[in-house]
């Protein structure tokens, strides 16, 4: 496969477009055409899970129901991710525009922005923008109203069914799936939950067309995405990059010259050691040879001064607290992984115990009820397997 150059993109924050015009044009198009455009573009959910957006909208559009909802997931809680905050701060109308498109396509008349508790400072600004937005809705003759909903601070509420539970006034705990939110979501009605960034891209795709979007990236991972770059980097910040780059390219651009590992996708993502930088691409599964890692945008660079034991310990402390506690593999598994590496480090358990823990992590990946519990094992396995010595000595 030909090596791609790391390419910066300027779509999300570009100023040379009128949000209202894109929306007005979009609302003139047949619903089916918008769905087909999104499907053709290959856009996948930018929150990290990567579900095809066009398909999700189509599923909700096909449901027969007197009420449907559009929810923007702005519960950006993954450690190392801070792009949604920036989008909401700088381009809130693009987000709302994407929601309006979704409402138009699916037939929803109510929408919510589920805002992370820690982002309350955005409320005054968003409320002002909502006024403008609702005026547009009147002018464009679309019956769609968006409200803010403020989360209460639980990480798991970024998981869409927990988010919905929390909106219904219940404990933020994942539901059993199926049914999926597109069939039975908020208040039991068909609901589209998309990430902040995803909504913006739907607008951008209508603007530039599916072809141009798909020309970026690689097969299975088309387009670009925002990355939150942090850790041992002289250039921490938010960058919109084409998908499909290798970590080698990424680290050359953003590293401090001493990168030992990159954590792709935050605490729930994968840790890639330097020796695999060249063969690891950033993108969704499929269509790539070698390793391809999806990410919600979090890219943490660690240099040689960092203890990977400490990094993992920090992640596990996070999960031990942020697990909703509902299902066994996640609630107890997280505690065992944390206590386990501590015991090995202290010499209370033999090195071999790490193998037991790796097996446990594998079980968690396939038996936990939701994405949170299933992804704890990602960082655990990738760190322990690649930095085993650091876990012991």
């Amino acid at each position: 496969m030909a090596k791609r150059k790391l390419k910066r993109v300027d779509l999300i924050f570009s100023k040379d477009c009128s949000c209202r015009d894109i929306l007005a044009a979009g609302l003139q198009k047949p619903r089916e055409e918008i769905i087909q455009t999104l499907i053709a573009s290959g856009l996948k959910g930018r929150g990290g899970a990567g579900f095809p957006t066009g398909l999700k909208w189509k599923m909700a559009a096909n449901e027969k129901s007197n009420k449907k909802y559009v929810i923007c997931n702005a519960d950006e809680g993954e450690p190392g991710t801070f792009k949604d905050r920036e989008i909401l701060d700088r381009e809130p109308l693009k987000v709302l525009g994407g929601m309006a498109l979704c409402a138009y396509v699916t037939g929803a008349r109510e929408g919510f922005v589920y805002l992370r508790h820690e982002y309350r400072f955005l409320i005054p600004k968003l409320e002002k923008v909502l006024d403008t937005f609702h005026k547009w809705m009147e002018e464009l003759n679309l019956d769609f109203n968006v409200k803010l909903f403020i989360g209460a601070g639980a990480y798991v509420c970024g998981e869409e069914t927990s988010l919905i539970e929390s909106m219904e006034g219940k404990r933020g705990e994942p539901r059993n799936k199926p049914p999926y939110p597109t069939n039975e979501g908020y208040l039991g009605k068909p609901t589209v939950v998309n990430n902040v960034e995803t909504f913006v891209y739907t607008m951008m795709i209508l603007r530039i067309g599916a072809e141009e979007f798909k020309a970026m990236g690689i097969e299975g991972s088309s387009g670009s995405k925002l990355f939150s770059v942090s850790g041992d980097t002289p250039k921490a910040g938010i960058y919109e990059l084409e998908l499909g780059m290798t970590l080698d390219e990424f680290v050359k651009e953003f590293g401090d010259g001493d990168a030992k590992a990159v954590q792709v996708g935050g605490a729930s993502g994968f840790c890639v050691p330097r020796k695999r930088f060249a063969e690891t691409h950033i993108g969704y599964q499929g269509g790539l040879t070698g390793f391809s890692l999806p990410t919600g945008g979090s890219m943490m660079i660690f240099n040689s001064s960092r203890s990977m034991y400490n990094v993992l310990h920090n992640y596990l402390e996070f999960f031990e607290e942020e697990s909703c506690g509902q299902c066994t593999p996640c609630r107890v598994g997280c505690q065992q992984l944390l206590k386990g590496i501590e015991a090995v480090k202290r010499g209370e358990k033999s090195q071999k115990y790490l193998n037991d823990l790796l097996r446990l992590a594998d079980t968690m990946k396939i038996t936990a009820k939701c994405g949170l519990g299933q992804s704890v094992g990602n960082s655990f396995s990738s760190i322990v397997e690649n930095f085993r010595e650091e876990m012991i000595y």
């Binding site: 697990s323 909703c324 107890v332 065992q336 079980t363």
Partner: protein
């Protein structure tokens, strides 16, 4: 459920199953047992323990079979190496946060976690013991229910029971992650929260985290004390369920063996709550007629519909939730408490025993009875009327401890004086039974004739429907009841407090068409009580109820007012129903309670 059938493959076998069911249900149809913990037939699906995971071809993860619907063409493995390994890991995780002091656990050998851990040969040393550095409390504040956090596996069956079946919500989930646990409102002690003590949570707890507060040692001590005269009464629902503790299938009546066992345990007198159940019917039947008279003839502002008061879980519920309707409750004490008041007065007198030396024990299918016995007002004999309440389960344990071979025991009889009973009293144990017994008596008082139902079986009030109702037209009444001529008596029956709530919502907006309502706190009535053998499900409850009705049919006397000992009691001691002695000993009052 749709009638459509779909084809799936379970463990290599092609099967056709109804669309819409879960993988767990499909496996059950095929006689494949998938282990479960958070699943309970009476409750909604939680899907949180993950013990029931299975492998589905083409799926990355192992879905929980209880929460996954069957889909056409699915290829399912319930016992593949991947599944077994995952289950073992999950069970080991549960064991790592569970106090495995099984030797001292009340639920040992009746514990779902213990059973699975043993079946899967779980080594409790695999993972680090998470209990070590955590502090756990055993909440013994309640008279009825003990809560031991160290044994909780967080399956939330209790939470769902309290919310779905009882609408009480005494238990809920608090905190998250490693700190997540089942607790009361603000983690207050059990005695201080809105809890009806119904014990349905105990019946559905898979482990020993929720148990009844036990008095086995105290009872043994009393029996062993030569200066004490220990009387025991057994509630109607105990005799159709006790067998389950002692090797019988559900639905076997063990009345005679139980009477023998109680004597051999050393109780000085083995008496029957059925006796006071008959008494309750006389008092309550007259109270209903009295209310109707005062309403219809005297035009007094008498609260109607009248509601039964035998279920202490229901009493505590209405005291908390609908205190404005306490006037609708019959003032009759429950049969247990009527018995208690008489044991230390009438019985003591007749036997020539100083009431101070009487220890009154009752065996109940109920945990709320423990609370009821300790109510401050339940001391009309001058002493605490009932000293110890033990559950069907506790009695089962005592019989096991005694070393008796229960199945080989000869059938015995209850002792005279407060040991005689009728079929009407026996059916108190099933939902609708009090109503049926009351109608058998009240109808006959008013008309002089037996109720117009085949074989005295008032079938409309029987069954397991949440709410049932019936009408009986009163015609050709006796002269003294002429004001009731032509009136259609309307009655309703509800069991489970969620159903009680439905009834009460109608009552509270003045739209209840009934004269008399029976409410039992527990699903199925007392046969499904919080002190009954575990497990429970609708099938088991139906079998116990069937046994109750069989017992009724086999009784010589089937109407409360024909119980000779009760007749004798009125002659010798009480005088007339609702008379002064009755009023003092057999009736009570209720307390308004806070909702939070």
């Amino acid at each position: 459920m749709s009638e459509k059938m779909i084809n799936i493959k379970i463990d290599g076998k092609e099967v056709s199953v109804p669309d819409g069911i879960t993988l767990l249900e499909a496996a059950k149809i095929e006689n494949v047992k998938i282990p479960t913990l958070c699943f309970h037939e009476d409750l909604c699906i939680a899907g949180n323990c993950r013990v029931c995971v299975v492998e589905v071809e083409g799926w990355r993860s192992l879905p929980a079979s209880c929460a996954t619907p069957v889909m056409d063409g699915m290829v399912v493995y319930t016992n593949s190496p991947k599944v077994r390994r995952a289950r073992r890991d999950i069970l080991a995780l549960l064991v790592s946060e569970h106090s495995t002091q099984c030797t001292t656990c009340y639920r040992s050998t009746n514990c779902e976690l213990q059973e699975l851990a043993s079946e899967y040969n779980i080594d409790n040393e695999i993972y680090i013991n998470l209990l070590k550095n955590k502090s756990f409390t055993v909440d013994r504040s309640s008279w009825a229910i003990e809560k031991d956090e160290s044994k909780c596996i967080r399956c939330q069956r209790c939470v769902r029971t309290c919310a779905e079946l009882q609408k009480v919500n005494a238990l809920d989930v608090i905190f998250k992650g490693a700190d997540m646990k089942i607790a009361t409102f603000f983690d207050t002690v059990m005695s201080d929260v809105v809890c009806t003590n119904c014990g349905q949570c105990i019946n559905r707890c898979p482990t020993g985290a929720l148990t009844e507060r036990r008095y086995i040692d105290e009872i043994w001590e009393a029996i062993g004390d030569p200066n004490k005269h220990v009387v025991v009464q057994t509630a109607p629902a105990v005799r159709v369920a006790l067998g389950e503790m002692l090797g019988y299938e559900p639905g076997v009546r063990v009345t005679g063996k139980m009477a023998t066992a109680l004597k051999r345990l050393g109780f000085d007198s083995v008496l029957d709550t059925d006796f006071s159940a008959d008494l309750t019917i006389i008092e309550e039947g007259h109270e209903l007629l009295d209310r109707l008279k005062r309403k219809l003839v005297d035009k007094e502002d008498i609260p109607l519909p009248m509601m039964t008061s035998c279920s202490p879980g229901w009493i505590k519920f209405i005291e908390h939730m609908y205190p404005d309707y306490l006037g609708n409750l019959s003032t009759c004490k429950s049969p247990q408490q009527m018995f208690g008041a008489l044991a230390k007065t009438y019985y003591a007198d007749k036997k020539g025993i100083d009431p101070k030396n009487i220890v009154s024990v009752s065996v109940m299918p109920c945990s709320a009875k423990k609370y009821e016995a300790n109510r401050l007002e339940m001391n009309d004999s001058g002493l605490q009327d009932i000293d110890y309440v033990c559950t069907t389960r506790e009695l089962g344990h005592m019989i096991r401890q005694s070393g008796m071979n229960f199945k080989e025991l000869p059938n015995g009889k209850f002792d005279p004086f407060m040991g005689e009973s009728t079929g009407a009293a026996v059916i108190f144990g099933a939902t609708g039974g009090v109503m049926e017994a009351a109608l058998r008596t009240a109808y006959e008082i008013v008309t002089g004739r037996e109720v117009p139902f085949d074989g005295l079986n008032i079938t409309p009030v029987r069954g397991m429907e949440g709410i049932r109702d019936a009408k009986i037209k009163l015609e050709n009444v006796l002269p003294e009841w002429s004001f009731l001529e032509g009136i259609e008596l309307r009655v309703a029956v509800a069991h489970g407090l969620t159903n009680a709530t439905k009834i009460m919502e109608d009552v509270s907006i003045g739209e209840s068409p009934y004269h008399f309502i029976e409410i039992m706190a527990c699903p199925g009535g007392c046969i499904g009580g919080g002190g009954q053998p575990i497990p429970t499900n609708e099938e088991i409850r139906k079998k116990r109820a069937q046994a109750i009705y069989t017992e009724d049919e086999k009784m010589k006397i089937r109407k409360s007012h024909e119980n000779p000992e009760v007749i004798q009691l009125y002659k010798e001691f009480l005088g007339t129903p609702l008379g002064e002695v009755s009023h003092h000993l057999l009736h009570t009052k209720y307390t308004r309670r806070e909702r939070v």
